[in-house]
């Protein structure tokens, strides 16, 4: 029963991740299109739209904060391996579990204090588009949830699997 629920949750999150990855790529393209539109409007029609910069920056913030959990998922965030590689394998396993816990803890801060921030800024508005300022920050708790999930998924990797994933010589 518990196992079945876990599988559903995992599948759900995997679908959400995939969507977010596509969304991030979409945001990247949207930024280019919006700024090109701004240039064309300014040069050809001599009319600078006021909303373009604000929306593009909003996309940048969403893209950037979402890249924190996406980076964990894709193993992009690099650390310094030098000292770590000197640990015995068992120690490396334990330390990397602790690191995933730390990352999940950071995710928790992003959820709790991020919601606080969203609430705090919900009354003010952005100058050009009049959207609530909170939309800039709403991505923080969302990223927090994904971060906890991604970190915990890596946290549960058993020792056997961890050993299999090691590069053969230990050299990068």
């Amino acid at each position: 029963m518990l196992h079945a629920i876990l599988t559903v949750v995992k599948k759900g999150f995997a679908a959400v991740e995939k969507t977010l990855e596509l969304l991030s790529m979409g945001m990247l393209l949207a930024m280019v299109v919006i700024i090109c539109y701004q240039v064309v409007m300014r040069f050809v029609f001599n009319d600078s739209p006021s909303w373009t910069e604000e929306i593009a920056i909003l996309l940048m913030i969403w893209f950037g904060i979402l890249s924190i959990p996406i980076g964990v998922k894709l193993h992009l965030h690099i650390g310094i391996e030098y000292l770590f590689n000197l640990f015995p394998l068992k120690g490396q396993y334990v330390v990397s579990r602790l690191i995933y816990l730390l990352i999940a803890g950071f995710g928790l801060v992003m959820i709790v204090n991020g919601l606080e921030l969203v609430e705090f800024t919900s009354m003010s508005t952005l100058p050009a588009t009049k959207l609530p300022s909170a939309v800039e920050y709403a991505v923080i708790p969302i990223s927090g949830v994904l971060l906890i999930f991604n970190a915990m998924e890596l946290f549960w990797v058993p020792y056997g699997t961890f050993l299999e994933q090691q590069p053969p010589s230990g050299q990068t």
Binding site: L28, M31, I65, H77, G79, I80, E116
Partner: protein, 444 residues
Amino acid sequence: MEADVLGITLLVGTFFVLLAVRVPVAFALGTASVLTGWYLDLPLMVVLQQMAKGLDSFSLMAIPFFILAGQLMGVGGISQKMIAMADVLVGKIRGGLAMVNIMASMLFGGISGSSVADTSSIGSIMIPMMKKAGYDNDYSVAVTISSSVQGVIIPPSHNVIIYALAAGWVTVTVDGISKQFSLSIGKLFLAGVTPGILLGLALMVISYFLAVRRNYPKGQPVAFREGVARVMDGLLGLLTAVIIIGGVVSGIFTATESAAIAVAYAFIITAFVYRELGWGNLRVVLFESLKTLAIVAALITTSSAYGYMMTRLSIPQLVTDALINLTDNRYIVFLIINVILLGLGMIMDMAPLILITTPILLPVVANFGMDPHQFGIVMMLNLGMGLLTPPVGSTLFVGCAIGRIRIEDMVKPLLPFYLFMFITLLAITYIPSISMWLPNMFMP
């Protein structure tokens, strides 16, 4: 000034301890900021707000656009075209392939701005080619990776934009007047041109010298018509750089706008002129850009929070005061800063170091009269050299992987190259006009 020793120890100590046990840099910065915020009794939402604020910059958006344009040009086979063009220009010299390698890196630097990308794309063609022509493996790898550092100096370089961003995070007090720098991207671009070319020349000199001593072959001269065709083909690709730099320097576009236009241009060239782009690799382009950007963006968020905490604890001011008390000789101070950056560059990657050290070191150099634009270029070359040094040097790792050579075996062949790069570094540090004559001429 009263230093909050406990707070500073917490902020700096937590960071280094976490770093030592392989916590990813972005999270080491984030955790240290949260703990310090907690210690200072700040509401933790301030830390999170600073993370978002780090990304709240219009000129920052040029970074994803540069990376996208570079990736698009990569699909269009730009590295082959740059090599073919360089071959026309310098291929006939003794050690011709080494010269071509360096020249191609210089041209490629105008498109990609990343040393690792340069090594992986130019190197994966040039290193096997040099091996076949009888060059020693260690020499080929050394030439490839050292010349790829040009990529981070020659405009447009996205690392320069990261620097401009971080420079805006700190309040600099010179002679009792406090101000916040807002650096001109155009000036930074122009400031990088001559140092980048100078570095290329320095590397060509040492490569030529070694090539003569080891009797490496000359290349075949290229027929005139063929040569013109290749140069034209290459120039078509280099036009992205011209659009970006020209747009920014002339003031017609902002850096971000010209980068967006460059993406559009790169898309059109790759899809319709070079005819290499389809739906399949467009997705790959976007995904590869996403991966590169995710690292940078995540780092920017947490180092923005970290920079805020450093300012709260007056760390930049304290460091400046300490160095002023130590000596009033600017040459010694600049040397100390170079040594610090080189040392840090050995253990850490470029982007996080720019983000962490700029708020600390910029007030120091500004107090000793160095132009912040010049310092940007000094920092780029310095940290670029850090990419070639063990134990942590991403360009070195990529180069060794392509050349199938052990990292330990690369250190000795690299020594002459390190030396020439270091001499270039000193020249750029102590002779301001090398960097500044172009920006002073075009953007006074």
